[in-house]
Structures are given as structure tokens and as C-alpha cells.
Symmetry: C2
Subunit: 240 residues, 2 copies
Amino acid sequence: MILVLGSGNFATSLAQHLAQKSKVVIYSRRQEVVHSINTWNKNPTAFPDFVLHHNISAIGQFSQQLLDSAAYIVYSIPTQAQRSVLLQIAPFLTTQLLIFVNKGIEISTGKLPSEICADILGPLAQTCAYLSGPSFAAEIMLGQPTACSISSPSPESARRCHALFQSENFLIYDSLDVIGVQIAGALKNVIALASGACMGVGFMQNSRAALITRGLAEITRFGIALGADPITFSGLVRIF
Amino acid sequence: MILVLGSGNFATSLAQHLAQKSKVVIYSRRQEVVHSINTWNKNPTAFPDFVLHHNISAIGQFSQQLLDSAAYIVYSIPTQAQRSVLLQIAPFLTTQLLIFVNKGIEISTGKLPSEICADILGPLAQTCAYLSGPSFAAEIMLGQPTACSISSPSPESARRCHALFQSENFLIYDSLDVIGVQIAGALKNVIALASGACMGVGFMQNSRAALITRGLAEITRFGIALGADPITFSGLVRIF
């Protein structure tokens, strides 16, 4: 069974994708979401018109039994809540493969998701994996061809995670550059917002292309300063 | 005086940009274009509704006098004609700074613009510069903020070229990676065509993002194989 933590758009779309291969349980704190998924196979807060795959169910509380039956845990709750959620589930963890699909930097500490893991999970953090990549949840729901990167300090975790997500229309690239993949995933959104603002004030494609190109250069320099491999930012990843 | 070889959209937009600072002469083989520019300040084949800057005039033939009065020559004719045009003007060349703004690879030889220069100009090719970057001619005509890269084997040429093109709304980045800048400029268009086809058959943003990301990875690998600096493909250039 795959446990998906979170019931937002991205969480729901990944649950729908993964349900093609396996039973999926969505964890949500919201009782109306749990009830709706279990009763009508619909998530009222994410793509409410979509009927979810019959392999999907939902649950509202953590328990040892729940965590024991999960081979994979997909963490899809905002980064600012990662520390508190990890503290809640840490006592239940044994051999589950944790896959973080959240992006961003913890505001109070300046840390990346992998660094929050290291703080709380200790050596177990070395087996966690991180999924990132250019993807809209709505298009994953539609089964549109999508590519993502998976990185992990553990080649074995990356391989398992790759096998879990990979499908005919979901292409996975593996990387050992955990820092680079997370930095790229977090900072590209800053440039995306700037790009929208650029168009909004009336600038055109040349300006947008300049912003994106130079934004990528700045993200790369930022990544290099934090120990990332610059090649990650060209879309290249080191394949195992 | 700046001599612009070519009267297409990109040539005309660069002439319009450069005319803010200097006299510009557009060379065109088409007599109606020369006549129209010299009579009405309009290019009938490129942005025919635009009144060109009063610093722009046109000429239909090469002569020693014409070439002698040019401090800069901006080459903006397709790459497949570069060899024959260079052979025509080579006898007139002395100290002019040649700036190539064409993109692509010579089909009959597989050579880049800089390699065609080396074939015909010998050591003089070491002083040539190459302009590339994400830019639409129509937006340069409108004075939209635009960024381009300039590369040259000669730091002195790159500096002069930089000073020539740079303005408040035209930002120039210098690079010593002549091969990388040319490869990026040529091959991005292949990915751009594929991206258009991808959308045309009904795929959406996830697929397009995957195509562009992996396309950039492929361009980078192609560039590395030809001796380019991989960092060029992240939008980073080595500043002098």
C-alpha cells in the first residue's frame, strides 16, 4: 500500500497516478475529505469533478497499523508543515520508503526538505527520496505525458522510487544531486512568478526569455554555492 | 558607420537598434529594398509599416569605399550563404569588426559560422564576434527589453561588440565560449519546432516542459561533445 500524506491538488493527482499500480491511502486531517473519498470516490477540495481510481481510499488519523501497512509514504504537504508532520509520524517509521514531493525552503530555518529530514530522522534520512520536476497536477490527472526527477542519497531508494512512479506517460529521471534537484524545484517558482509579473506589466517574449535565462543562471549560481552540481540545472541528471 | 549585411527581419531590427547610436547602412541585393529605404525610410519586406530611423540608408553593391567606411559589419544573412558572401567581401576587409548574428550549421560541411570564418578568413577569424540569444525581431523593433549573448575568441572584440549593442533596453552578456553560444543558438530552434509540434498534436504544459528540459539536456550533451562549456547552456556565461 502507498500512503499519500496530503489531499491537495498535487497529492490527489499523484494518488490517482499511483493507484494504477497499487492500493493508495490518502491521509487528510479534513474529515469531509476523508468521508467524501471513502463514500463517493471524490475529493471535494481537489478536482471535485474527477472520480478517483477505485484503488484510492482515505484516512484521518495516523496509527502504527496504518504506517506498518505502507511500503511507501508520499509526503505532499507544504514544506512549512514538514517538520511537525515528520515529528508525528517518526515514532511509527520502520522500513517505509519516504518520498517527498513538496518544494520550498523552511522559512524559520532556511533549510531544504532533505535537511529537515536529517534533523528529525537522523541516519534514516539517507534513505529518503525527493521528487521534483515541471508538472501541473491537473495534467497528471488527465494522464498527460509528464517527466519528473527523483533524487536520493541512496541509489537503492532512487531505483525503487523510479520503479514506483515510472509509467508509459510518467517519465522519471534519477539524480544523485539531492541539493540541486530541490533548489531547482524551489527556486524555479520564484522565476515563474517573476515571469508572470513581467508579462502582466506588458513586456513581451524577449523580456520573458531574458528573465528566464538569467533566472536560470542565478538559480544555478545559488545551487553551486549550496553544493549542487551545475549540470542539474541544464536538465541533465547523472544517471545511475 | 555600421554596415548591416542583409535586409530581413532580424537585420532590419538590429539596424533600427544600432541606428540610435550611429549611421547604419543596410546592404541588400534587392534593388526595390534599397530604393524604398533610401526614398521612404521603409523596408517593404521587413516591418513595412515601420518608419526606419533617419540614420539608416541602404546600398546594393560592395565596394572598397563602402567597406573602408565601416567600423563594424553585422552579418545577418542565412548561414547557408555565409561562405559565398564572405568570399565576396574578404578582399575588402582590413580592420572592420565582423559580428555574425546568423544561426545554424552549414549543411554541406556540418560547420558552425565561426568555422566557416576560420576557413575563409584565416587568422582574422580570431577577431570575429557572434551574437546569439532569445530574441524576436518584431520585439526589438518595438524597443522591448531584450538580452543577448556575444562571444568571441578575442576579449577585445567581445568588449567592443558589447559596447556597440548594449543599451538601456538591450542587455549584452559576454562569453568566451564561442562554440557553446553558437550551438545553443542553432539547436534551441530544433527544440522550439518540436515544442510547437507537441502543442499542435494536443499535448499540454507538462509534456512541453519535459520536452524543453530534456531538449536542453540533449543540446548540452551535443555541445560538450563539440568542446563547449556546459555552463553556457544554463544561461551562465563566463564574464571577462
